[in-house]
């Protein structure tokens, strides 16, 4: 249960985990042979911090240690819950980027059956940062699409850390047209820091590729549901998220620009302080986006974030997806573009003086 990648704000939890690990070690020693009596000694040393218990020479009792471990585990849950209930937006961004956080391919495996991947945009190539294929969600055949960041170093580099190229967006769009033809609902999982900013991406029309997706997704006559599972970075995210229903996992972010990008421009420099301020101002959390009407639902994550319990997170996503698709399938497909248009049409905030 220890987290290898340590988030700064999770330090109190890691401390408790260390204590538990130390106690488990001691328990093993105690159970291994010399069982002693008197048991309260452990509590004193544990409160004062890590490692100190090694020096304790007090006789020990396995039962007391076990009780102590249980108590610490309860405490850990409580502390974790408390921490995650009060994350700053910048901390949320960090959770969303946690290297252990489940990615598109993980969710495809956990939520869908019989995944049949489709490759290539028939124009230039196959972008590994965009995963597309047919799959079954329960008994429903769907097309599933998602950004893939990559887990191993090699995969991360191939995926440009989840930053798709124009061919990725074009692949997604081409298969979405296929889904419309086959009358399959579309599920998209959003997880990108942003579309890739590079020479080839520009040369091949990154802007045009995204723009076409925005336009053509809006008029697809088949249900589309999207979930921001990690990072919802700007146009690169929106490029597969013009959907009938959009949700965000509780610890994901969705915004016009990353906090660092925003800080670098508006605060003239990106550092801990300005990133924190930018994240705060951008209103990029799930709750903020829900309040702004940009998303329709927040999908809860297990206490301590999706990376701690991927399976449970996947179940929450699956439930939401299934409910939405059931609901949308009740609509005549040809009416969906109109309601989808209205969904996006009303977004924005302005004052109007009527002449």
């Amino acid at each position: 249960m220890s987290s290898f990648y340590q988030l700064e704000f999770e330090k109190p939890v890691v401390e408790i985990e260390k204590q538990v690990a130390a106690l488990q070690e001691r328990l093993k020693r105690v159970q291994g042979g010399k069982v002693g009596g008197g048991g309260a000694a452990g509590e004193q040393t544990l409160e004062t911090g890590t490692g100190a218990d090694e020096e304790s020479a007090a006789p020990e009792d396995a039962g007391a240690i076990e009780r102590e471990i249980d108590a610490l585990r309860v405490k850990r849950e409580r502390v974790l819950e408390e921490l995650y209930a009060h994350l700053t937006p910048w901390d949320t961004v960090r959770v969303a980027r946690h290297p252990k956080r489940p990615q598109t391919r993980d969710y495809i495996e956990m939520i869908f059956k019989d995944f049949c991947e489709l490759h290539g945009d028939r124009r230039f190539g196959d972008d590994p940062a965009m995963v597309v294929g047919f799959a079954r969600l329960g008994s429903t055949k769907v097309l599933v699409i998602g950004h893939q960041k990559g887990r191993t170093t090699q995969e991360k580099i191939a995926c440009h850390f989840g930053c798709a190229h124009p061919e990725g967006y074009r692949k997604a769009m081409a298969k979405m047209r296929l889904a419309e033809k086959f009358k399959l609902p579309i599920v998209t999982l959003v997880d990108t820091p942003g579309a890739y900013p590079g020479l080839g991406a520009e040369a091949r029309g990154q802007a045009e590729a995204i723009a076409v997706n925005l336009r053509d997704m809006s008029r697809l006559k088949t249900p589309i549901v999207s979930v921001v599972i990690g990072e919802g970075g700007s146009g690169g995210a929106l490029g597969i998220a013009v959907a009938d229903r959009v949700a965000m996992l509780a610890n994901s972010w969705y915004s016009v620009i990353s906090p660092e990008g925003c800080a670098a421009i508006l605060w003239k420099q990106a550092n801990e302080q300005t990133n924190t301020a930018a994240a705060q101002n951008l209103k990029l959390t799930a709750r903020d986006n829900l309040e702004l009407g940009i998303i329709d639902a927040v999908i809860p994550e297990p206490i301590g974030g999706a990376h701690r319990e991927p399976k449970k997170t996947a179940q929450h996503i699956e439930k939401w997806l299934t409910d939405q698709i059931m609901d949308l399938k009740a609509h005549t497909p040809s009416t969906l573009p109109r309601t989808r248009y209205e969904r996006f049409r009303k977004l924005g905030s302005f004052a109007e003086q009527v002449a």
């Binding site: 942003g194 579309a195 890739y196 900013p197 590079g198 020479l199 991406a201 520009e202 040369a203 029309g205 990154q206 802007a207 045009e208 995204i210 723009a211 076409v212 925005l214 336009r215 053509d216 809006s218 008029r219 700007s234 146009g235 929106l238 490029g239 013009v242 969705y254 915004s255 016009v256 620009i257 990008g261 925003c262 670098a264 421009i265 508006l266 605060w267 003239k268 301020a277 930018a278 101002n281 951008l282 209103k283 990029l284 903020d288 986006n289 702004l292 940009i294 573009p337 248009y341 996006f344 049409r345 977004l347 924005g348 905030s349 302005f350 004052a351 109007e352 003086q353 009527v354 002449a355």
Partner: protein
């Protein structure tokens, strides 16, 4: 999406070289293109292009409308729209203050001018992003005005011309700015379904969320010479790939060669080119 072009590399106020800003209101200025001393009045009379080298200076929205619409034909629409501060955004300066300062500076409420007009006698819907207001960035007001322009063109079966010049989506409205990309693009799907004509005119600079939405969706895309057009700003790209960008990268001529725009059109031909496209579309 909103990118660095808007704030650092070049802003409206200091888009010309330091030499020029040292004589900001002078009768003469040193041309950014050819470095010759040129007479400002003459440059302005030449559609704000250098009389020597035809360097295209950036122009404000009102000037653009004046250049494109038949004299006296422009009827402004959606003028009652004004921005709010939905996120209570505050960086080094509050968004509210920033808006107010821009409004005082320009006399406009936001970065867009829209209305109906005639272009060489042809009835059209014209929408212009105004670079002089917060770098023509797209927040809710710009998104709404662009969308209404598209809807009006669709309803009245008018050719639609949108002239873009923008740093991208406006950061201070964050997710709501992002949603304007979807909103405007979806409106264009309906115009397209109705068989309408959309001529997108790209001017220096057109980047970020504006490029990645309506600006690149023209039935016909025209670009002014040497305009910077792209998704990411050059600085962001340079930081990502850590190498020098090729000469002319992301400029109109580069996009033309790469198949991304239909025509590169000098400013003094823009009116007649637009009229020609309208005629070919049969509208």
């Amino acid at each position: 999406m909103t990118n660095a072009v808007s704030s650092k590399a070049k802003t409206w106020n200091d888009h010309s070289s330091a030499r020029k800003t040292s004589v900001p209101e002078g009768l003469w200025l040193r041309c950014d293109g050819c470095e010759q001393m040129i007479y400002r009045k003459q440059m302005e009379a030449n559609l704000h292009c250098c009389p020597e080298c035809n360097h295209h200076y950036r122009i404000a929205g009102a000037e653009r409308v004046k250049q494109l619409a038949d004299s006296g034909s422009f009827e402004a629409m959606f003028t009652g729209l004004s921005p709010t501060d939905p996120l209570k955004f505050k960086d080094l300066k509050g968004y509210k203050e920033r808006l107010l300062a821009e409004q005082i500076k320009t006399g406009a409420t936001d970065a867009v001018i829209a209305g109906s007009c005639f272009i060489k006698g042809r009835s059209a819907m014209l929408c212009v992003l105004d670079l002089s207001f917060m770098m023509g960035s797209m927040g809710s007001v710009v998104g709404e005005a662009v969308t209404r322009s598209i809807e009006t063109a669709t309803e009245r079966n008018l050719p639609l011309i949108i002239v873009s010049g923008s740093g991208g989506a406006r950061m201070q409205e964050s997710g709501l700015s992002l949603m304007q990309m979807a909103k405007t693009s979806a409106a264009l799907a309906r115009l397209d379904d109705a068989g309408g004509l959309f001529i997108s005119v790209l001017t220096d600079p057109t980047t970020g969320g504006v490029t990645a939405s309506f600006a690149m969706l023209g039935d016909v895309i025209l670009a002014e010479p040497k305009a910077l057009i792209g998704f990411a700003g050059p600085r962001v790209i340079q930081q990502t790939i850590r190498q020098e960008l090729p000469e002319g990268f992301q400029r109109s001529e580069y996009l033309l060669k790469g198949g991304m725009v239909d025509r590169v059109v000098p400013r003094n031909e823009l009116r007649s080119e637009i009229a020609r496209m309208i005629d070919y579309s049969g509208r």
